[in-house]
Amino acid sequence: MSTIPLTHYLVVAAALFSIGLAVAITKRNAIGVLLGLELMLNAVNLNLVAFSRHDPELIRGQLFALFVIVVATVEVTVALAIVLRVYSHYRTIDPDQVSDLRR
């Protein structure tokens, strides 16, 4: 059916993962870091889906990707709740400035 080789999917996913890592490192904002994490999770899902093309009977890669999406949702909700608490305490969500544990 498909004429696109598997390695092309993998290279696209590798590029997305690397860019997501760069976003997570360079953004000095907790929500910017979350954006990078979402990109990385999507790259991993793309890998799983691309490999699951060769498993047409029980598409285990797609099932795993479905669970990855669920866990990504959970991660974002809890992370945003924590970010809101941090903001109300420190008045900033720059991860470099949130450095003291004491009130």
């Binding site: 004429t3 890592l21 976003v23 093309r53 060769h54 999406i69």
Partner: protein, 173 residues
């Protein structure tokens, strides 16, 4: 035709990911994430994962992205006066540029080398063009029932935990 679509949507996803990396306005970064997620969903369709593409659009674009934009709006930097008549400009400093870019470029080179050097022995046919919903449903309800239930419990725990965490219990602080 399929190749044009594949490379077009790949370029869309990677280009908007680069836009997220380079822009300083966090609102624009969120919209760039929208385009990147759209491109990835189209790549899912091209890889034969129709249900996963729809799930991606529903969950990420409909849920996570709206949540992230709410988070951006609610956590404006102190000292910045929001002006209701102006477009949203949430400027974020990009720091550690050198190390971030160096690390990611090195990682991409490593990945590309591994992928291109690796010779994947792929047995089995490629996915024929039919809907995957039936297979996914049967598998979720038979052999993957325990992870399915655990995912449900995890979602409930996250719902309760996020509601508990987000409440400000010390209004004077």
């Amino acid at each position: 035709m399929e190749q044009v679509a594949f490379y077009g949507f790949s370029a869309l996803a990677i280009g908007s990911a680069l836009f997220i990396l380079l822009t300083r306005n966090l609102m624009y970064a969120a919209f760039g994430l929208f385009l990147a997620l759209l491109g990835v969903a189209a790549l899912y369709v091209l890889a034969g994962a129709d249900f996963l593409a729809i799930t991606q659009l529903l969950v990420y674009v409909g849920g996570i992205l709206v949540l992230l934009i709410f988070g951006i709006m609610l956590t404006r930097p102190a000292g910045e006066r929001p002006d209701a008549s102006q477009p949203n400009r949430v400027v974020v400093v990009n720091d550690r540029r050198f190390w971030g870019l160096l690390l990611s470029v090195l990682l991409f080179c490593l990945f590309s080398f591994t992928i291109l050097a690796g010779n994947f022995a792929l047995v089995g046919d490629t996915l024929i063009s039919r809907s995957t919903i039936r297979t996914l449903g049967v598998e979720l309800m038979t052999s993957h029932l325990l992870p399915f239930e655990i995912a449900g419990v995890l979602l409930l725990v996250a719902l309760v935990g996020a509601a508990y965490l987000a409440v400000n219990r010390n209004p004077s602080a």
